[in-house]
């Protein structure tokens, strides 16, 4: 960017006062300021206060210029935030936390927003990395100066940061940590500016936690409230995404009703998203529909949906989505009695989940993997898998009842009664309600375990 053609101080001064009558000169000053020239920005900064207090003449043009200047400053700060992150991103998590705690340059709204944006992307690839980033964003939020940003905004940011920690910890299976973070988010938002979008996001994250511990109806009811809030302010994107999320939860209790909700969500989504920018939400809705049809015994319809939207799955190939896709393909193959195919899909899904530390999904999936081995008359392999998962659950510190229940599953696999009992349903709902693995961020010794 050429920096040699800076406007003169006089031109800047006249521009600030709204007295620069030459149109071309005015345009050239604007064009130059948009390059975010720090030198001219500093000159204007020094003039600004004097002009804003000097007189009421041309108040509007001065105010609009002040807004323009603030925008330039914000863009500069955003650029700086990205540069700071580039510098920090290769460091270890404890070092990053230490740097943020001790450096006011990193305690800004822009840096907080930058790290927050990365949280959702990161936890799709590696949920524990997502937890690290959410905690880093929280450290920044806790140190935002109230005198600079105002208490309302600072409480909003802290609420958002705690809410995100709750969201990622739920995904990582640290449900106690998630519940604590969400409660702290609620307290912060109570003192915030009253931004309903933050309240709604906290509602969504709390509903996800209710879902994770098996309180499906409570989760769905909370989302109904969130949806009505989004409708009230006309946020159709919020309505669509929350309806799709609600359908996902309702699938577990009433698949037929979940189909209605998912279709309503899709209809709103298609109405607002002609360009397909939210195609990940569309994928979630299609996936939910396929699961519902499969639960209702309409295997062909489920298979047709998955086939049709394979291109969407391919477009979003993060481990959670890929694992979910392979699992669903496996379950469809299982329902079609194509057991070898089913086994291949389900085993691939397990590897995908384990590599991304998605242990809860991998454990629930193990029940289907045992089932397919029994159907293939590979009982020795089925027993060995059941025992291996049991040992791993013990290491993860699950409750005594869960371990006993799993031990009874191992016995049922061994004595051939597994296929005749309703084990999958009983065990998955029990595991969901009692799943408390080790705290997030603690990596497994000897690398990622395999199931």
């Amino acid at each position: 960017m050429p920096r040699t053609d800076h406007p003169s101080v006089e031109s800047l001064s006249l521009f600030l006062a709204g007295s620069l009558n030459n149109r071309e000169e005015c345009q050239s000053v604007v064009a130059h300021l948009l390059t975010q020239c720090q030198r001219c920005g500093a000159v204007l900064q020094s003039f600004r206060d004097a002009y804003l207090t000097s007189s009421y003449d041309r108040a509007f043009s001065r105010a609009s210029f002040a807004a323009q200047l603030a925008q330039i400053e914000r863009e500069e700060q955003k650029g700086k935030a990205a540069e700071l992150w580039d510098w920090l991103k290769e460091s270890e998590h404890p070092f990053r936390l230490q740097v943020v705690r001790g450096n006011p340059l990193l305690q800004t709204i822009e840096f907080f927003a930058h790290v927050t944006k990365l949280v959702r992307i990161a936890c799709r690839v590696d949920v524990l990395y997502g937890v690290d980033l959410a905690e880093l964003a929280l450290e920044i939020a806790l140190r935002l100066p109230e005198d600079q940003y105002g208490p309302g905004l600072v409480h909003d940011c802290r609420g958002q940061a705690f809410s995100n920690v709750g969201m990622v910890k739920t995904r990582a299976g640290d449900l106690t940590g998630a519940a604590e973070a969400l409660e702290l988010a609620r307290r912060e938002l109570t003192h915030g500016s009253g931004d309903m979008l933050e309240d709604a996001m906290l509602g969504v994250n709390t509903a996800n936690l209710l879902y994770a511990i098996g309180l499906f109806l409570e989760g769905a009811a909370l989302l109904t409230r969130v949806i009505s809030m989004f409708r009230k302010v006309g946020d159709l994107k919020g309505v669509a995404l929350t309806l799709i999320q609600q359908a996902y939860i309702v699938t577990h209790v009433d698949p037929a009703h979940a189909i209605e909700i998912a279709e309503e969500g899709l209809a709103v989504l298609i109405q607002i998203d002609k360009e397909g920018k939210l195609d990940i939400a569309e994928l979630s809705a299609r996936h939910t529909l396929a699961r519902c049809y499969l639960s209702l015994g309409e295997v062909e319809e489920a298979g047709s949906i998955v086939e049709t939207y394979t291109y969407l799955y391919a477009r979003h190939s993060d481990p959670q989505i890929t694992g979910d896709y392979l699992w669903l393909r496996g379950r469809i193959a299982l329902a079609n009695q194509a057991y070898q195919y089913a086994k291949r899909f389900l085993d691939n899904a397990a590897n995908t989940y384990m590599q991304a530390h998605l242990y809860f999904d991998a454990t629930l999936l193990a029940i289907d993997r045992i089932q397919v081995r029994l159907l293939l008359q590979e009982s020795h392999e089925a027993i060995s898998l059941a025992k291996k998962v049991g040992r791993q659950l013990g290491e993860w510190g699950l409750t005594r009842d869960s371990l006993q229940l799993w031990a009874s599953l191992v016995n049922a696999v061994a004595d051939g009664t597994f296929l005749t009992n309703d084990y999958p349903k009983v065990i998955s709902s029990h595991l969901r309600a009692t799943w408390i693995p080790r705290p997030c961020g603690v990596k497994f010794e000897g690398g990622t375990p395999s199931l």
């Binding site: 609620r186 500016s193 906290l202 209809a267 009692t434 408390i436």
Partner: protein, 108 residues
């Protein structure tokens, strides 16, 4: 995943029985959802696009007759008072979650 055969909208119309004008409307409205190659008049569709067009028609038919709401202007609104009841409901939900998790922890 995509095969080498590429089709024009007219060919897809023959195969699916969907009017070419309707297909063209789908292709422009839902461009990002339909797999395709090339731009403008040279745009062609792989056979994988056929089920997507069929699905779009199915959805279009399903929506026929339903009242369409005009999209509202999306604004960020700040609420106080009764609009913040959601925070109260979240608090109650978190209390319930806390009880469940406590019960689980006591059984470890």
């Amino acid at each position: 995943m995509q095969s080498d055969t590429l089709l024009t909208l007219t060919e897809i119309a023959e195969k699916t029985g969907i009017n070419a004008t309707t297909l063209s409307k789908y292709a422009s409205q839902y461009a990002a959802r339909i797999p395709c190659q090339g731009e403008g008049r040279k745009r062609r569709y792989p056979p994988e696009a056929i089920p997507v067009f069929l699905k779009l028609r199915e959805e279009g038919l399903a929506r026929k007759g339903r009242p369409r709401k005009e999209p509202l202007i999306i604004t960020q609104q700040v609420f106080t008072g009764e609009d913040r009841l959601l925070l109260g409901e979240i608090g109650q939900a978190l209390e319930k979650i806390g009880k469940v998790l406590q019960r689980v922890a006591s059984r470890r």
